[in-house]
């Protein structure tokens, strides 16, 4: 414990000796202040502590959408763009040299000759390095918590769930950074390789999302067109029973024809994509799912009956109407889009914690295992 504390104090001194650490803290504070400057009054939204005023009928003090917008800004922009992007890059830059410095010849001998096992030393060092990222996120979240409480009167402790989520997200990348850092003893190399790894993750995840979207969409298409064939055929039968010469008959026959063509086309496209879908899903299953990890926050924070800024960004304006609308014609492009979006959202939200976190942590554990094994066996 005394040794862990010594490593903790050392990590604090190392980070606080770096200017970048304080720059990050400063920008974090600015972001919180900017967020806090958004307020709601009876006429609408005020920005910059009242410097600008946006008049709005729907979004004003007391409206249920104000809550959705305010929390949505946090879970969609502050978390997804600030915490999971900019702050993560800054944190990686300031922590990438911790392990290379640690194993630098001349300093590692001093540490490793102390009465502490190598594995314990390695893990402790890893944990204390992460703790500082956790600390930064924690302070940030506390600021957000205060803002949300003061502005819309909701003291929502779930905001703090961003701490473990962002820390876990960061740790996937940091594990890789540590492995490369102790192998190459170079912070810059570690940073670069981690960046490449991150891009790789991003492209696999994006491919998965895109493929998943198309596959879902084609499935919806096939279903809806086939339904269309059935309902139109029924309609046709009823009309034919009354009169064989009804003017609607050729029109309906033509429609059935089109449905059939469209359905075949969708089936062909699906057949083309299907062989890719499974392998990409498998590759993703083995890799850390950082986008989905961050997505957990949205899952936990969004109010199912409220205003969902994420859905609006996806072009689903129904969220504004607040309730499900019965589709007039389920085969139109818009209706099919909406159904596909609904299914995709449902799909991602129903992915288990084990899938999102468990497999990601398994990957991280594997990378850390390699790093600690190397560290334990190495002749320094």
């Amino acid at each position: 414990m005394m040794q862990f504390k010594a490593l903790l104090i050392d990590a604090y001194r190392q980070l606080s000796a770096a200017k970048l650490f304080w720059v990050t803290v400063g920008i974090s504070a600015l972001v919180v202040v900017a967020f806090g400057s958004i307020g709601f009054n009876s006429e609408g939204i005020s920005i910059g502590f009242g410097a600008y005023q946006i008049e709005s009928e729907q979004l004003n003090a007391g409206s249920p959408w104000a809550r959705g917008l305010y929390i949505g800004i946090f879970s969609n922009f502050l978390v997804k763009i600030w915490l999971a992007w900019i702050a993560t890059v800054l944190a990686l830059i300031s922590t990438c040299s911790i392990f290379p410095e640690f194993v630098h010849s001349g300093s590692i001998e001093l540490t490793i000759s102390k009465p502490i096992g190598r594995f314990k030393l390695f893990i402790s060092k890893y944990i204390v390095s992460l703790l500082f990222v956790v600390l930064q996120v924690a302070i940030f979240c506390f600021g957000i918590f205060l803002c949300v409480g003061l502005r819309i009167g909701e003291w929502n402790p779930l905001i703090f769930s961003a701490i473990p989520i962002v820390a876990t997200f960061f740790s996937y990348l940091f594990a890789v950074c540590v492995l490369v850092g102790i192998l190459t003893r170079s912070g810059i190399t570690a940073l670069l390789i981690t960046g490449i790894f991150w891009m790789l993750l991003w492209s696999v995840q994006t491919s998965e999302v895109v493929l998943n979207r198309f596959v879902t969409r084609f499935n919806v298409d096939i279903e809806r067109f086939d339904e269309g064939i059935i309902t139109t055929t029924e309609e046709l039968t009823t009309i034919r029973a009354k009169s064989e010469t009804d003017f609607r008959i050729p029109k309906l026959e033509k429609r059935i024809e089109t449905y059939k063509e469209d359905s075949t086309e969708a089936q062909e496209s699906l057949a083309k994509l299907a062989p890719w879908h499974m392998p990409v899903e498998l590759v993703l299953a083995a890799l850390p799912k950082n986008a989905q990890t961050i997505g957990l926050l949205n899952r936990w924070l969004s109010d199912p009956d409220g205003f969902d800024i994420g859905a609006i960004m996806n072009g689903d304006m129904r969220a504004f109407e607040g309730e499900d609308v019965k589709e007039f014609d389920p085969t139109t492009r818009g209706a099919r889009d909406r159904e596909a979006n609904r299914r995709i959202q449902e799909d991602y939200e129903s992915r288990s914690l084990w899938y999102v976190l468990g497999t990601s942590l398994l990957f991280e554990g594997f990378v850390l295992g390699l790093a600690s094994m190397y560290f334990s066996r190495k002749d320094f």
């Binding site: 001093l110 540490t111 490793i112 009465p115």
Partner: protein, 303 residues
């Protein structure tokens, strides 16, 4: 009890450098033991094996009575690595506190020991300055202070006088003698031979990963003790026959018993030969060292 007792230490680095070959070494309690050898002989390798910094290919023996590699034993050992580097963002005092804590020294002890060690090593006034501003000699002294933070029974110093000026070296030598008085064993590596001679109770000479000689300096140089007699004018025939070595107007007799040379001096005097000087000569550590190195060709490990 022996502070260090090692038998048959072997080390082959990856890349096939055979750095240590069946090295055996004994360091007694309360003595200063010096390990000598040219660069690349394997001195640091041996020390790193003792300190668990590297893994030996083969090792048996004890450290303070415990088997080598026992973590707990490290609590009572102080270690100054070669070319050590302290974190630049720490001050002298923070360095001592940090490494003291890693050695499981309690907080109170750390505070009192840090300030007493800083003044003992002549670093008072620098305790709150960042180590980045220290000179090489000061860093070395801070390194020794760091090695003493856990009040060790055994101190292992790899090139302790590296980069230290002559005054500082003398101070370190005096400090080592004091530490011996306090009952600690000291094991040190150095290439500064004259220093070892002044302070070490026993030495070992290592060349190309092998220990070629080990013992007190006296016992290692006993074979080379001799008397050198210089006369004015030529040396008589009978003396040349007796002598072990002759040069123009001096001759040498091996041995370190002064009574043995008295008859010779008497005879020279009786023959009215003027004796300029009679000098007891003994090989110093440097000669001994050069002899050991010469016997095994150029320095460096056998690859």
């Amino acid at each position: 009890m022996a502070a260090i007792q090692l038998q048959g230490v072997e080390k082959v680095y990856r890349g096939k450098v055979h750095a240590l070959r069946r090295v055996s070494i004994d360091v007694m309690d309360g003595e200063i033991f010096g390990l000598l050898g040219p660069n690349g002989a394997g001195k640091s390798t041996l020390v790193k094996i003792i300190m668990t910094v590297i893994h030996a290919s083969n090792v048996s023996g004890t450290l303070l009575g415990k088997p080598i590699g026992d973590r707990k034993t490290l609590e009572s050992i102080g270690y100054l690595p070669e070319h050590h580097r302290f974190p630049y963002y720490l001050t002298g005092k923070q360095v001592l506190d940090h490494y003291g804590a890693l050695c499981k020294v309690g907080r109170k002890d750390r505070i009192t020991r840090a300030s007493s060690l800083l003044s003992r090593l002549g670093l008072s006034g620098w305790e709150n300055k960042k180590v980045g501003t220290y000179s090489k000699g000061m860093l070395q002294r801070l390194g020794i202070a760091q090695a003493l933070m856990n009040d060790p029974k055994l101190l292992i110093l790899d090139e302790p006088t590296d980069g230290v000026d002559p005054v500082g070296r003398r101070e370190i030598r005096d400090l080592l003698a004091e530490l011996r008085e306090e009952g600690r064993a000291v094991f040190l590596n150095s290439h500064l031979l004259s220093e070892l001679e002044m302070v070490c109770d026993r030495v070992a000479i290592m060349v190309k990963g092998k220990v070629t000689m080990q013992g007190t300096i006296d016992s290692l140089t006993v074979d080379s003790r001799r008397y050198e007699i210089t006369t004015l004018g030529s040396i008589p025939e009978w003396a040349i026959e007796l002598a072990d070595d002759v040069s123009e107007n001096s001759f040498t007799l091996l041995g370190d018993d002064p009574s043995k040379i008295q008859p010779i001096l008497d005879r020279l005097r009786s023959e009215n030969i003027i004796i300029v000087s009679v000098q007891p000569v003994r090989e110093n550590l440097e000669d001994l060292f050069m002899r050991a190195v010469d016997n095994t060709d150029a320095p460096g490990a056998i690859r």
